[in-house]
Protein backbone atom coordinates (compact mmCIF):
# COMPACT_ATOMS: atom_id res chain seq x y z
CA UNK A 1 0.00 0.00 0.00
CA UNK A 2 2.82 2.36 0.89
CA UNK A 3 4.27 1.69 -2.43
CA UNK A 4 1.03 2.24 -4.30
CA UNK A 5 0.30 5.57 -2.67
CA UNK A 6 3.80 6.82 -3.41
CA UNK A 7 3.24 6.29 -7.07
CA UNK A 8 2.52 9.76 -8.54
CA UNK A 9 1.19 11.03 -11.83
CA UNK A 10 4.62 11.24 -13.31
CA UNK A 11 5.14 7.52 -13.07
CA UNK A 12 2.04 6.91 -15.13
CA UNK A 13 3.02 9.52 -17.66
CA UNK A 14 6.47 8.05 -17.95
CA UNK A 15 5.03 4.63 -18.54
CA UNK A 16 2.66 5.92 -21.16
CA UNK A 17 5.44 7.85 -22.84
CA UNK A 18 7.52 4.69 -22.93
CA UNK A 19 4.63 2.74 -24.36
CA UNK A 20 4.10 5.45 -26.93
CA UNK A 21 7.73 5.26 -27.89
CA UNK A 22 7.68 1.48 -28.16
CA UNK A 23 4.59 1.66 -30.27
CA UNK A 24 6.14 4.13 -32.64
CA UNK A 25 9.32 2.09 -32.73
CA UNK A 26 7.35 -0.99 -33.69
CA UNK A 27 5.42 0.88 -36.35
CA UNK A 28 8.57 2.30 -37.86
CA UNK A 29 10.81 -0.72 -37.80
CA UNK A 30 8.86 -3.94 -37.95
CA UNK A 31 8.26 -5.28 -41.43
CA UNK A 32 5.26 -7.42 -40.61
CA UNK A 33 1.95 -5.63 -41.06
CA UNK A 34 0.43 -7.40 -38.07
CA UNK A 35 3.24 -6.28 -35.80
CA UNK A 36 2.83 -2.76 -37.05
CA UNK A 37 -0.82 -2.86 -36.09
CA UNK A 38 0.21 -4.07 -32.66
CA UNK A 39 2.44 -1.06 -32.45
CA UNK A 40 -0.57 1.10 -33.18
CA UNK A 41 -2.37 -0.64 -30.34
CA UNK A 42 0.53 0.29 -28.07
CA UNK A 43 0.18 3.93 -29.05
CA UNK A 44 -3.51 3.91 -28.34
CA UNK A 45 -2.95 2.24 -25.00
CA UNK A 46 -0.38 4.81 -24.09
CA UNK A 47 -3.10 7.37 -24.62
CA UNK A 48 -5.43 5.27 -22.52
CA UNK A 49 -3.00 5.26 -19.62
CA UNK A 50 -2.77 9.00 -19.85
CA UNK A 51 -6.53 9.38 -19.80
CA UNK A 52 -6.95 7.11 -16.83
CA UNK A 53 -4.12 8.68 -14.93
CA UNK A 54 -5.39 12.19 -15.55
CA UNK A 55 -8.92 11.30 -14.66
CA UNK A 56 -7.59 9.66 -11.47
CA UNK A 57 -5.58 12.69 -10.46
CA UNK A 58 -7.89 15.46 -11.80
CA UNK A 59 -11.11 13.74 -10.84
CA UNK A 60 -14.00 13.43 -13.26
CA UNK A 61 -15.07 10.48 -15.35
CA UNK A 62 -14.37 11.77 -18.88
CA UNK A 63 -10.97 10.13 -18.99
CA UNK A 64 -12.38 6.75 -18.12
CA UNK A 65 -15.09 7.08 -20.73
CA UNK A 66 -12.57 8.11 -23.29
CA UNK A 67 -10.34 5.14 -22.60
CA UNK A 68 -13.26 2.77 -22.86
CA UNK A 69 -14.22 4.14 -26.26
CA UNK A 70 -10.62 4.02 -27.39
CA UNK A 71 -10.43 0.35 -26.50
CA UNK A 72 -13.63 -0.40 -28.40
CA UNK A 73 -12.52 1.52 -31.42
CA UNK A 74 -9.17 -0.18 -31.32
CA UNK A 75 -10.98 -3.45 -31.61
CA UNK A 76 -13.04 -2.27 -34.57
CA UNK A 77 -9.95 -0.91 -36.23
CA UNK A 78 -8.18 -4.21 -35.68
CA UNK A 79 -11.03 -6.04 -37.37
CA UNK A 80 -10.88 -3.90 -40.51
CA UNK A 81 -7.12 -3.96 -40.44
CA UNK A 82 -7.04 -7.71 -40.40
CA UNK A 83 -9.45 -7.88 -43.31
CA UNK A 84 -7.23 -5.58 -45.33
CA UNK A 85 -4.08 -7.41 -44.39
CA UNK A 86 -5.60 -10.72 -45.39
CA UNK A 87 -6.58 -9.23 -48.73
CA UNK A 88 -3.02 -7.97 -49.10
CA UNK A 89 -1.73 -11.44 -48.36
CA UNK A 90 -4.07 -12.92 -50.96
CA UNK A 91 -2.69 -10.57 -53.59
CA UNK A 92 0.96 -10.10 -52.69
CA UNK A 93 1.52 -13.43 -50.94
CA UNK A 94 3.27 -11.47 -48.21
CA UNK A 95 2.51 -9.07 -45.39
CA UNK A 96 5.89 -7.39 -45.52
CA UNK A 97 4.90 -3.75 -45.84
CA UNK A 98 8.33 -2.72 -47.11
CA UNK A 99 7.86 -4.94 -50.16
CA UNK A 100 4.51 -3.40 -51.02
CA UNK A 101 5.55 -0.23 -52.86
CA UNK A 102 4.24 -0.50 -56.42
CA UNK A 103 2.96 3.09 -56.21
CA UNK A 104 5.61 5.69 -55.50
CA UNK A 105 6.87 9.15 -56.37
Amino acid sequence: MELITNIGLNHFLTISALLFGFGLFAVMTRKNAIVILMGVELILNAANINFLAFSKFNGGMEGVMFSLFVIVLAAAEAAIALAIVINIYKIFRSVDVSSIDTMKE
Binding site: V40, A46, E62, F66, L73, I91, T102, M103
Partner: protein, 511 residues
Protein backbone atom coordinates in the same frame (compact mmCIF):
# COMPACT_ATOMS: atom_id res chain seq x y z
CA UNK B 1 -15.77 4.06 -5.80
CA UNK B 2 -18.55 5.86 -7.77
CA UNK B 3 -22.11 5.53 -6.46
CA UNK B 4 -24.84 4.73 -8.94
CA UNK B 5 -27.01 7.65 -10.11
CA UNK B 6 -30.42 7.97 -8.49
CA UNK B 7 -33.66 7.50 -10.44
CA UNK B 8 -34.24 11.24 -10.64
CA UNK B 9 -30.87 11.77 -12.21
CA UNK B 10 -31.57 9.05 -14.71
CA UNK B 11 -34.89 10.69 -15.55
CA UNK B 12 -33.20 13.99 -16.18
CA UNK B 13 -30.57 12.30 -18.26
CA UNK B 14 -33.21 10.65 -20.41
CA UNK B 15 -35.04 13.95 -20.74
CA UNK B 16 -31.90 15.67 -21.95
CA UNK B 17 -31.32 12.91 -24.44
CA UNK B 18 -34.89 13.16 -25.69
CA UNK B 19 -34.60 16.89 -26.26
CA UNK B 20 -31.25 16.28 -27.87
CA UNK B 21 -32.76 13.87 -30.38
CA UNK B 22 -34.71 16.74 -31.86
CA UNK B 23 -31.45 18.31 -32.91
CA UNK B 24 -30.17 15.02 -34.27
CA UNK B 25 -32.78 14.18 -36.89
CA UNK B 26 -30.63 14.39 -40.08
CA UNK B 27 -28.05 12.08 -38.64
CA UNK B 28 -30.72 9.64 -37.58
CA UNK B 29 -32.35 9.85 -40.97
CA UNK B 30 -29.07 9.09 -42.69
CA UNK B 31 -28.40 6.19 -40.35
CA UNK B 32 -31.78 4.78 -41.33
CA UNK B 33 -30.86 5.22 -44.95
CA UNK B 34 -27.61 3.38 -44.23
CA UNK B 35 -29.43 0.41 -42.81
CA UNK B 36 -32.05 0.51 -45.53
CA UNK B 37 -29.32 0.17 -48.12
CA UNK B 38 -27.88 -2.85 -46.38
CA UNK B 39 -31.33 -4.40 -46.22
CA UNK B 40 -31.99 -3.75 -49.88
CA UNK B 41 -28.64 -5.26 -50.65
CA UNK B 42 -29.61 -8.36 -48.75
CA UNK B 43 -33.16 -8.87 -49.97
CA UNK B 44 -32.98 -7.79 -53.63
CA UNK B 45 -31.46 -10.35 -55.92
CA UNK B 46 -29.75 -9.86 -59.26
CA UNK B 47 -28.22 -6.66 -60.61
CA UNK B 48 -29.23 -3.82 -58.39
CA UNK B 49 -26.56 -1.24 -58.97
CA UNK B 50 -28.96 1.26 -60.50
CA UNK B 51 -31.56 0.65 -57.83
CA UNK B 52 -29.04 1.10 -55.03
CA UNK B 53 -27.48 4.15 -56.56
CA UNK B 54 -30.89 5.70 -57.17
CA UNK B 55 -31.98 4.99 -53.61
CA UNK B 56 -28.75 6.40 -52.21
CA UNK B 57 -28.87 9.55 -54.31
CA UNK B 58 -32.54 10.22 -53.59
CA UNK B 59 -32.11 9.32 -49.94
CA UNK B 60 -29.24 11.73 -49.56
CA UNK B 61 -31.21 14.37 -51.44
CA UNK B 62 -33.98 13.78 -48.96
CA UNK B 63 -31.47 14.58 -46.27
CA UNK B 64 -31.48 18.19 -47.50
CA UNK B 65 -35.03 18.54 -46.27
CA UNK B 66 -34.21 17.54 -42.71
CA UNK B 67 -31.13 19.68 -42.66
CA UNK B 68 -33.19 22.60 -43.93
CA UNK B 69 -35.60 22.01 -41.07
CA UNK B 70 -32.78 22.59 -38.62
CA UNK B 71 -32.55 26.25 -39.65
CA UNK B 72 -35.65 26.72 -37.51
CA UNK B 73 -33.84 25.52 -34.38
CA UNK B 74 -31.54 27.99 -32.66
CA UNK B 75 -27.91 27.13 -32.29
CA UNK B 76 -27.03 25.16 -29.22
CA UNK B 77 -25.25 22.16 -27.78
CA UNK B 78 -26.83 18.80 -27.10
CA UNK B 79 -26.01 15.52 -25.42
CA UNK B 80 -24.15 17.19 -22.56
CA UNK B 81 -22.07 19.31 -24.88
CA UNK B 82 -20.97 16.38 -26.95
CA UNK B 83 -22.54 17.75 -30.03
CA UNK B 84 -23.43 21.20 -31.34
CA UNK B 85 -25.75 22.60 -33.90
CA UNK B 86 -24.71 25.93 -35.41
CA UNK B 87 -24.52 27.63 -38.78
CA UNK B 88 -21.02 26.27 -39.30
CA UNK B 89 -22.22 22.71 -38.76
CA UNK B 90 -25.23 23.25 -41.00
CA UNK B 91 -23.02 24.47 -43.82
CA UNK B 92 -21.02 21.30 -43.66
CA UNK B 93 -24.10 19.14 -43.41
CA UNK B 94 -25.28 20.53 -46.74
CA UNK B 95 -21.76 20.25 -48.04
CA UNK B 96 -21.27 16.59 -47.14
CA UNK B 97 -24.69 15.47 -48.33
CA UNK B 98 -24.04 17.23 -51.61
CA UNK B 99 -20.62 15.65 -51.90
CA UNK B 100 -22.25 12.30 -51.13
CA UNK B 101 -24.71 12.75 -53.97
CA UNK B 102 -21.96 13.74 -56.35
CA UNK B 103 -19.93 10.76 -55.18
CA UNK B 104 -22.85 8.48 -56.03
CA UNK B 105 -23.09 10.16 -59.43
CA UNK B 106 -19.46 9.58 -60.26
CA UNK B 107 -19.64 6.05 -58.85
CA UNK B 108 -22.44 5.29 -61.27
CA UNK B 109 -20.27 6.61 -64.06
CA UNK B 110 -17.33 4.38 -63.25
CA UNK B 111 -17.38 1.15 -65.24
CA UNK B 112 -14.43 -0.33 -63.40
CA UNK B 113 -16.30 -0.11 -60.11
CA UNK B 114 -19.56 -1.45 -61.51
CA UNK B 115 -17.88 -4.44 -63.04
CA UNK B 116 -17.72 -5.68 -59.47
CA UNK B 117 -21.49 -6.06 -59.44
CA UNK B 118 -21.23 -8.32 -56.41
CA UNK B 119 -21.71 -6.58 -53.06
CA UNK B 120 -21.94 -3.11 -54.52
CA UNK B 121 -24.58 -2.50 -51.89
CA UNK B 122 -21.99 -2.16 -49.14
CA UNK B 123 -20.31 0.41 -51.25
CA UNK B 124 -23.22 2.83 -51.19
CA UNK B 125 -23.93 2.02 -47.59
CA UNK B 126 -20.36 2.91 -46.73
CA UNK B 127 -20.65 6.15 -48.65
CA UNK B 128 -23.67 7.07 -46.57
CA UNK B 129 -21.85 6.02 -43.41
CA UNK B 130 -19.01 8.26 -44.37
CA UNK B 131 -21.43 11.15 -44.90
CA UNK B 132 -22.74 10.59 -41.39
CA UNK B 133 -19.23 10.45 -39.98
CA UNK B 134 -18.20 13.64 -41.68
CA UNK B 135 -21.33 15.44 -40.54
CA UNK B 136 -20.54 14.41 -36.99
CA UNK B 137 -16.96 15.54 -37.42
CA UNK B 138 -18.23 18.97 -38.36
CA UNK B 139 -20.64 19.09 -35.44
CA UNK B 140 -18.80 17.43 -32.60
CA UNK B 141 -17.78 19.69 -29.74
CA UNK B 142 -16.11 17.15 -27.53
CA UNK B 143 -12.74 15.49 -27.89
CA UNK B 144 -14.35 12.10 -27.53
CA UNK B 145 -16.94 12.85 -30.15
CA UNK B 146 -14.29 14.17 -32.45
CA UNK B 147 -12.25 11.01 -32.03
CA UNK B 148 -15.25 8.78 -32.64
CA UNK B 149 -16.45 10.60 -35.73
CA UNK B 150 -12.98 10.71 -37.21
CA UNK B 151 -12.59 7.00 -36.66
CA UNK B 152 -15.94 6.40 -38.30
CA UNK B 153 -14.85 8.34 -41.36
CA UNK B 154 -11.45 6.73 -41.30
CA UNK B 155 -12.62 3.16 -41.10
CA UNK B 156 -15.19 3.56 -43.85
CA UNK B 157 -12.55 5.28 -45.95
CA UNK B 158 -10.13 2.39 -45.51
CA UNK B 159 -12.74 -0.06 -46.68
CA UNK B 160 -13.78 2.08 -49.63
CA UNK B 161 -10.18 2.49 -50.70
CA UNK B 162 -9.64 -1.23 -50.70
CA UNK B 163 -12.99 -1.86 -52.28
CA UNK B 164 -11.60 -3.35 -55.49
CA UNK B 165 -10.42 -6.51 -53.76
CA UNK B 166 -8.63 -7.97 -56.74
CA UNK B 167 -6.86 -4.81 -57.73
CA UNK B 168 -3.42 -4.80 -56.11
CA UNK B 169 -3.18 -1.01 -56.26
CA UNK B 170 -6.47 -0.74 -54.41
CA UNK B 171 -5.34 -3.15 -51.72
CA UNK B 172 -1.97 -1.47 -51.35
CA UNK B 173 -3.65 1.88 -51.07
CA UNK B 174 -5.91 0.54 -48.39
CA UNK B 175 -3.00 -0.83 -46.37
CA UNK B 176 -1.05 2.38 -46.55
CA UNK B 177 -4.10 4.39 -45.69
CA UNK B 178 -4.79 2.13 -42.77
CA UNK B 179 -1.33 2.16 -41.27
CA UNK B 180 -0.83 5.86 -41.78
CA UNK B 181 -4.30 6.69 -40.57
CA UNK B 182 -4.00 4.51 -37.53
CA UNK B 183 -0.73 6.10 -36.52
CA UNK B 184 -2.03 9.60 -37.06
CA UNK B 185 -5.17 8.97 -35.06
CA UNK B 186 -3.03 7.39 -32.38
CA UNK B 187 -0.96 10.54 -32.18
CA UNK B 188 -4.13 12.60 -32.09
CA UNK B 189 -5.55 10.64 -29.24
CA UNK B 190 -2.33 11.03 -27.34
CA UNK B 191 -2.56 14.77 -27.96
CA UNK B 192 -6.15 14.70 -26.74
CA UNK B 193 -5.00 13.00 -23.59
CA UNK B 194 -2.49 15.74 -22.98
CA UNK B 195 -5.13 18.42 -23.47
CA UNK B 196 -7.32 16.52 -21.07
CA UNK B 197 -4.46 16.48 -18.66
CA UNK B 198 -4.00 20.21 -18.93
CA UNK B 199 -7.65 21.08 -18.46
CA UNK B 200 -9.43 18.05 -17.02
CA UNK B 201 -12.09 18.75 -19.66
CA UNK B 202 -13.01 17.13 -22.95
CA UNK B 203 -15.60 19.64 -24.10
CA UNK B 204 -13.83 22.16 -26.27
CA UNK B 205 -15.69 25.19 -24.95
CA UNK B 206 -14.93 24.19 -21.38
CA UNK B 207 -11.33 23.61 -22.44
CA UNK B 208 -10.99 27.13 -23.84
CA UNK B 209 -12.57 28.51 -20.67
CA UNK B 210 -10.13 26.52 -18.54
CA UNK B 211 -7.14 27.65 -20.55
CA UNK B 212 -8.28 31.24 -20.44
CA UNK B 213 -8.73 30.92 -16.71
CA UNK B 214 -5.58 29.14 -15.62
CA UNK B 215 -3.24 29.50 -18.52
CA UNK B 216 -1.12 26.52 -19.54
CA UNK B 217 2.36 25.22 -19.99
CA UNK B 218 3.28 26.27 -23.53
CA UNK B 219 5.56 23.28 -24.08
CA UNK B 220 2.88 20.72 -23.32
CA UNK B 221 0.31 22.72 -25.24
CA UNK B 222 2.65 22.85 -28.20
CA UNK B 223 3.22 19.14 -28.07
CA UNK B 224 -0.49 18.52 -27.76
CA UNK B 225 -1.42 20.78 -30.67
CA UNK B 226 1.36 19.22 -32.76
CA UNK B 227 0.03 15.72 -32.17
CA UNK B 228 -3.59 16.76 -32.69
CA UNK B 229 -2.60 18.61 -35.84
CA UNK B 230 -1.04 15.39 -37.05
CA UNK B 231 -4.49 13.81 -36.78
CA UNK B 232 -6.30 16.66 -38.53
CA UNK B 233 -3.54 17.29 -41.00
CA UNK B 234 -3.68 13.76 -42.25
CA UNK B 235 -7.38 14.23 -42.95
CA UNK B 236 -6.85 17.42 -44.94
CA UNK B 237 -3.75 15.93 -46.56
CA UNK B 238 -1.40 18.82 -45.88
CA UNK B 239 2.38 18.57 -45.86
CA UNK B 240 3.95 16.86 -43.87
CA UNK B 241 0.91 14.73 -43.07
CA UNK B 242 0.09 14.09 -46.71
CA UNK B 243 2.22 11.07 -47.53
CA UNK B 244 -0.67 8.68 -47.71
CA UNK B 245 -2.66 10.75 -50.17
CA UNK B 246 -0.88 10.27 -53.50
CA UNK B 247 -0.73 6.51 -53.18
CA UNK B 248 -4.24 6.21 -51.81
CA UNK B 249 -5.67 8.56 -54.44
CA UNK B 250 -3.96 6.58 -57.16
CA UNK B 251 -4.89 3.19 -55.76
CA UNK B 252 -8.46 3.80 -54.71
CA UNK B 253 -11.35 3.49 -57.16
CA UNK B 254 -11.60 6.85 -58.89
CA UNK B 255 -15.03 7.74 -57.41
CA UNK B 256 -13.61 7.07 -53.96
CA UNK B 257 -10.60 9.21 -54.77
CA UNK B 258 -12.88 12.02 -55.83
CA UNK B 259 -14.94 11.61 -52.70
CA UNK B 260 -11.94 11.53 -50.35
CA UNK B 261 -10.34 14.49 -52.07
CA UNK B 262 -13.32 16.73 -51.42
CA UNK B 263 -15.25 15.04 -48.60
CA UNK B 264 -12.86 13.90 -45.94
CA UNK B 265 -10.59 16.86 -46.73
CA UNK B 266 -13.43 19.26 -46.06
CA UNK B 267 -14.33 17.33 -42.92
CA UNK B 268 -10.75 17.70 -41.78
CA UNK B 269 -10.98 21.46 -42.33
CA UNK B 270 -14.24 21.64 -40.45
CA UNK B 271 -12.91 19.86 -37.39
CA UNK B 272 -9.61 21.68 -37.55
CA UNK B 273 -11.31 25.08 -37.61
CA UNK B 274 -13.68 24.20 -34.84
CA UNK B 275 -11.00 22.75 -32.62
CA UNK B 276 -8.47 25.52 -33.00
CA UNK B 277 -10.92 28.41 -33.14
CA UNK B 278 -13.01 27.20 -30.21
CA UNK B 279 -10.74 25.10 -28.03
CA UNK B 280 -7.39 26.93 -28.15
CA UNK B 281 -8.12 30.22 -29.90
CA UNK B 282 -5.27 32.26 -28.38
CA UNK B 283 -2.23 33.30 -30.35
CA UNK B 284 -4.51 35.01 -32.80
CA UNK B 285 -2.10 37.88 -33.33
CA UNK B 286 0.75 36.48 -35.37
CA UNK B 287 4.42 37.39 -35.24
CA UNK B 288 4.47 38.15 -31.54
CA UNK B 289 6.43 35.96 -29.13
CA UNK B 290 6.58 32.49 -30.62
CA UNK B 291 5.23 31.01 -27.40
CA UNK B 292 2.07 33.04 -27.89
CA UNK B 293 1.33 31.71 -31.35
CA UNK B 294 1.70 27.99 -30.90
CA UNK B 295 -0.52 26.56 -33.55
CA UNK B 296 -0.80 29.51 -35.96
CA UNK B 297 2.88 29.44 -36.83
CA UNK B 298 2.45 25.71 -37.31
CA UNK B 299 -0.40 26.28 -39.75
CA UNK B 300 1.60 28.91 -41.65
CA UNK B 301 4.51 26.52 -42.08
CA UNK B 302 2.18 23.72 -43.09
CA UNK B 303 0.28 25.76 -45.67
CA UNK B 304 3.45 27.13 -47.28
CA UNK B 305 4.92 23.65 -47.41
CA UNK B 306 1.73 22.27 -48.91
CA UNK B 307 1.44 24.94 -51.60
CA UNK B 308 5.03 24.54 -52.69
CA UNK B 309 5.37 20.78 -52.32
CA UNK B 310 2.05 19.93 -53.89
CA UNK B 311 2.53 22.09 -56.96
CA UNK B 312 6.18 21.36 -57.47
CA UNK B 313 5.90 17.60 -57.27
CA UNK B 314 2.74 17.57 -59.36
CA UNK B 315 4.89 18.82 -62.24
CA UNK B 316 6.37 15.35 -62.46
CA UNK B 317 3.26 13.25 -62.55
CA UNK B 318 2.28 11.28 -65.62
CA UNK B 319 -0.83 9.74 -64.05
CA UNK B 320 -3.73 12.16 -63.99
CA UNK B 321 -5.22 10.79 -60.75
CA UNK B 322 -1.87 11.13 -59.04
CA UNK B 323 -1.44 14.59 -60.50
CA UNK B 324 -4.77 15.63 -59.06
CA UNK B 325 -3.77 14.05 -55.77
CA UNK B 326 -0.72 16.27 -55.50
CA UNK B 327 -2.70 19.27 -56.64
CA UNK B 328 -5.17 18.52 -53.85
CA UNK B 329 -2.30 18.81 -51.39
CA UNK B 330 -1.58 22.24 -52.81
CA UNK B 331 -5.23 23.22 -52.54
CA UNK B 332 -5.21 22.21 -48.89
CA UNK B 333 -2.42 24.76 -48.54
CA UNK B 334 -4.51 27.48 -50.20
CA UNK B 335 -7.53 26.73 -48.04
CA UNK B 336 -5.36 26.88 -44.92
CA UNK B 337 -4.42 30.47 -45.83
CA UNK B 338 -7.98 31.47 -45.07
CA UNK B 339 -7.77 29.88 -41.63
CA UNK B 340 -4.49 31.63 -40.96
CA UNK B 341 -6.17 34.99 -41.49
CA UNK B 342 -8.19 34.05 -38.36
CA UNK B 343 -11.13 36.29 -38.95
CA UNK B 344 -14.62 36.12 -40.38
CA UNK B 345 -13.44 37.02 -43.88
CA UNK B 346 -10.85 34.26 -43.72
CA UNK B 347 -13.33 31.63 -42.56
CA UNK B 348 -15.76 32.75 -45.21
CA UNK B 349 -13.04 32.51 -47.82
CA UNK B 350 -12.06 29.02 -46.72
CA UNK B 351 -15.64 27.77 -46.74
CA UNK B 352 -16.17 29.25 -50.18
CA UNK B 353 -12.93 27.78 -51.37
CA UNK B 354 -14.01 24.34 -50.20
CA UNK B 355 -17.31 24.72 -52.02
CA UNK B 356 -15.53 25.71 -55.19
CA UNK B 357 -13.09 22.88 -54.77
CA UNK B 358 -16.00 20.46 -54.37
CA UNK B 359 -17.46 21.56 -57.70
CA UNK B 360 -14.33 21.68 -59.77
CA UNK B 361 -12.50 18.71 -58.34
CA UNK B 362 -15.46 16.34 -58.49
CA UNK B 363 -15.99 17.64 -61.99
CA UNK B 364 -12.42 16.95 -62.95
CA UNK B 365 -12.54 13.41 -61.55
CA UNK B 366 -15.89 12.92 -63.23
CA UNK B 367 -14.32 13.59 -66.62
CA UNK B 368 -11.29 11.51 -65.71
CA UNK B 369 -13.63 8.61 -65.01
CA UNK B 370 -15.47 9.06 -68.29
CA UNK B 371 -12.19 9.16 -70.14
CA UNK B 372 -10.80 6.10 -68.43
CA UNK B 373 -14.08 4.33 -69.25
CA UNK B 374 -13.19 4.99 -72.88
CA UNK B 375 -9.44 4.56 -72.88
CA UNK B 376 -9.07 2.35 -69.79
CA UNK B 377 -6.16 4.45 -68.65
CA UNK B 378 -5.37 7.50 -66.56
CA UNK B 379 -2.00 8.20 -68.11
CA UNK B 380 -1.29 11.60 -69.60
CA UNK B 381 -0.06 10.10 -72.85
CA UNK B 382 -3.37 8.36 -73.40
CA UNK B 383 -5.17 11.71 -73.33
CA UNK B 384 -3.73 12.67 -76.70
CA UNK B 385 -6.29 13.82 -79.20
CA UNK B 386 -9.20 13.16 -76.86
CA UNK B 387 -10.34 16.75 -77.16
CA UNK B 388 -11.73 15.98 -80.59
CA UNK B 389 -13.17 12.55 -79.77
CA UNK B 390 -14.95 13.74 -76.61
CA UNK B 391 -15.62 17.43 -77.22
CA UNK B 392 -17.91 18.01 -74.26
CA UNK B 393 -15.74 16.14 -71.80
CA UNK B 394 -12.67 17.94 -73.13
CA UNK B 395 -14.26 21.35 -72.81
CA UNK B 396 -15.55 20.55 -69.35
CA UNK B 397 -12.21 19.25 -68.13
CA UNK B 398 -10.52 22.36 -69.48
CA UNK B 399 -12.94 24.53 -67.59
CA UNK B 400 -12.42 22.58 -64.38
CA UNK B 401 -8.67 22.77 -64.71
CA UNK B 402 -8.77 26.50 -65.45
CA UNK B 403 -10.86 26.82 -62.33
CA UNK B 404 -8.34 24.79 -60.36
CA UNK B 405 -5.60 27.10 -61.59
CA UNK B 406 -7.73 29.99 -60.47
CA UNK B 407 -8.35 31.91 -63.66
CA UNK B 408 -11.49 33.94 -64.21
CA UNK B 409 -14.32 33.58 -64.89
CA UNK B 410 -14.54 30.48 -62.74
CA UNK B 411 -15.39 29.71 -59.15
CA UNK B 412 -11.78 28.78 -58.50
CA UNK B 413 -10.73 32.32 -59.30
CA UNK B 414 -13.20 33.76 -56.83
CA UNK B 415 -11.98 31.30 -54.22
CA UNK B 416 -8.41 32.46 -54.61
CA UNK B 417 -9.55 36.06 -54.80
CA UNK B 418 -11.34 35.73 -51.45
CA UNK B 419 -8.41 33.91 -49.85
CA UNK B 420 -5.94 36.58 -50.91
CA UNK B 421 -8.37 39.33 -49.99
CA UNK B 422 -8.56 37.83 -46.51
CA UNK B 423 -4.78 37.89 -46.27
CA UNK B 424 -4.34 41.39 -47.62
CA UNK B 425 -7.16 42.69 -45.48
CA UNK B 426 -4.84 42.03 -42.52
CA UNK B 427 -2.50 44.70 -43.87
CA UNK B 428 0.95 43.95 -45.16
CA UNK B 429 1.87 41.19 -42.67
CA UNK B 430 0.62 38.33 -44.82
CA UNK B 431 1.56 39.71 -48.25
CA UNK B 432 4.46 37.30 -48.54
CA UNK B 433 2.08 34.42 -47.94
CA UNK B 434 -0.13 35.77 -50.74
CA UNK B 435 2.93 36.06 -52.95
CA UNK B 436 3.80 32.41 -52.43
CA UNK B 437 0.20 31.62 -53.16
CA UNK B 438 0.08 33.38 -56.52
CA UNK B 439 3.50 32.18 -57.61
CA UNK B 440 2.69 28.56 -56.85
CA UNK B 441 -0.57 28.97 -58.74
CA UNK B 442 1.51 30.02 -61.76
CA UNK B 443 3.42 26.77 -61.38
CA UNK B 444 0.16 24.92 -61.12
CA UNK B 445 -0.92 26.39 -64.45
CA UNK B 446 1.90 24.51 -66.08
CA UNK B 447 0.97 20.99 -65.00
CA UNK B 448 -2.77 21.56 -65.23
CA UNK B 449 -2.34 22.77 -68.79
CA UNK B 450 -0.46 19.60 -69.64
CA UNK B 451 -3.81 17.85 -69.78
CA UNK B 452 -5.52 20.15 -72.36
CA UNK B 453 -2.16 20.24 -74.10
CA UNK B 454 -2.35 16.50 -74.59
CA UNK B 455 -6.04 16.53 -75.34
CA UNK B 456 -6.00 19.26 -77.98
CA UNK B 457 -2.49 20.06 -79.16
CA UNK B 458 -1.41 16.51 -79.81
CA UNK B 459 -2.75 13.79 -82.03
CA UNK B 460 -3.28 10.30 -80.66
CA UNK B 461 -1.18 7.52 -82.15
CA UNK B 462 -3.87 4.84 -82.14
CA UNK B 463 -6.78 5.33 -84.57
CA UNK B 464 -10.09 6.73 -83.35
CA UNK B 465 -11.96 3.84 -81.75
CA UNK B 466 -15.61 4.53 -82.54
CA UNK B 467 -17.70 7.33 -81.14
CA UNK B 468 -18.02 8.57 -77.61
CA UNK B 469 -20.20 6.14 -75.65
CA UNK B 470 -20.83 8.41 -72.68
CA UNK B 471 -24.42 8.17 -71.44
CA UNK B 472 -26.72 11.16 -71.64
CA UNK B 473 -26.96 11.34 -67.84
CA UNK B 474 -23.26 11.90 -67.50
CA UNK B 475 -23.13 14.34 -70.41
CA UNK B 476 -25.73 16.37 -68.58
CA UNK B 477 -23.89 15.82 -65.31
CA UNK B 478 -20.58 17.27 -66.42
CA UNK B 479 -22.32 19.96 -68.44
CA UNK B 480 -24.17 21.08 -65.31
CA UNK B 481 -21.01 21.01 -63.21
CA UNK B 482 -19.16 22.98 -65.88
CA UNK B 483 -21.88 25.58 -66.15
CA UNK B 484 -22.05 25.91 -62.37
CA UNK B 485 -18.30 26.35 -62.20
CA UNK B 486 -18.53 29.27 -64.59
CA UNK B 487 -21.82 30.63 -63.30
CA UNK B 488 -20.57 30.88 -59.72
CA UNK B 489 -17.42 32.41 -61.09
CA UNK B 490 -19.51 35.30 -62.37
CA UNK B 491 -22.35 35.49 -59.87
CA UNK B 492 -20.86 34.25 -56.66
CA UNK B 493 -22.81 36.45 -54.28
CA UNK B 494 -25.25 33.79 -53.01
CA UNK B 495 -22.51 31.32 -52.21
CA UNK B 496 -20.40 33.95 -50.50
CA UNK B 497 -23.33 35.16 -48.46
CA UNK B 498 -24.05 31.58 -47.45
CA UNK B 499 -20.42 31.09 -46.48
CA UNK B 500 -20.49 34.31 -44.50
CA UNK B 501 -23.57 33.29 -42.54
CA UNK B 502 -22.03 29.88 -41.95
CA UNK B 503 -18.82 31.28 -40.56
CA UNK B 504 -20.18 31.59 -37.04
CA UNK B 505 -19.36 28.77 -34.62
CA UNK B 506 -20.85 28.11 -31.25
CA UNK B 507 -18.62 29.31 -28.46
CA UNK B 508 -16.01 30.85 -30.74
CA UNK B 509 -14.37 33.97 -29.35
CA UNK B 510 -11.86 35.18 -31.95
CA UNK B 511 -14.33 37.25 -33.96
Amino acid sequence: MFELPSGAEIQSIIATLKTGVGFFIPEIYLSVLFMLLIVIDLVVKGRKNNLLSAVTALGLAGGFYFIYQQHLLEAGEIFFGMYVLDEFALFFKYFFVLSGILAVLVSVADDQLNRQARSIGEYYALIVAMVIGMIMMASSADLLMMFLSMELVGLTAYVLTGYLKNDPRSAEGALKYLVYGAVSSGLMVYGFSLIYGLTAETNIMKISAELALHGYDPLVMMLASLLILAGFGYKIGAVPFHFWSPDVYEGAPTPVTAYLSVGSKAAGFAILMRFFYVAIPHGGEPFQDIAGMDWLSLLIVISIASMIYGNVVALWQKNVKRLLAYSSIAHAGYALLGIIAMDELGTQATLFYLLGYLLMNIGAFYVVILISNRTGSENLEDYRGLGRKMPLAGAALTVFLISLVGLPPTIGFIGKLMIFSALLAKGSVFIWLALIGVLTSVISLYYYMLIPLNMYLRESQQPDEGKDATGMVHRIGIAVLMILTIYFGLFFKPLLDFAKISSSMLGMTIY
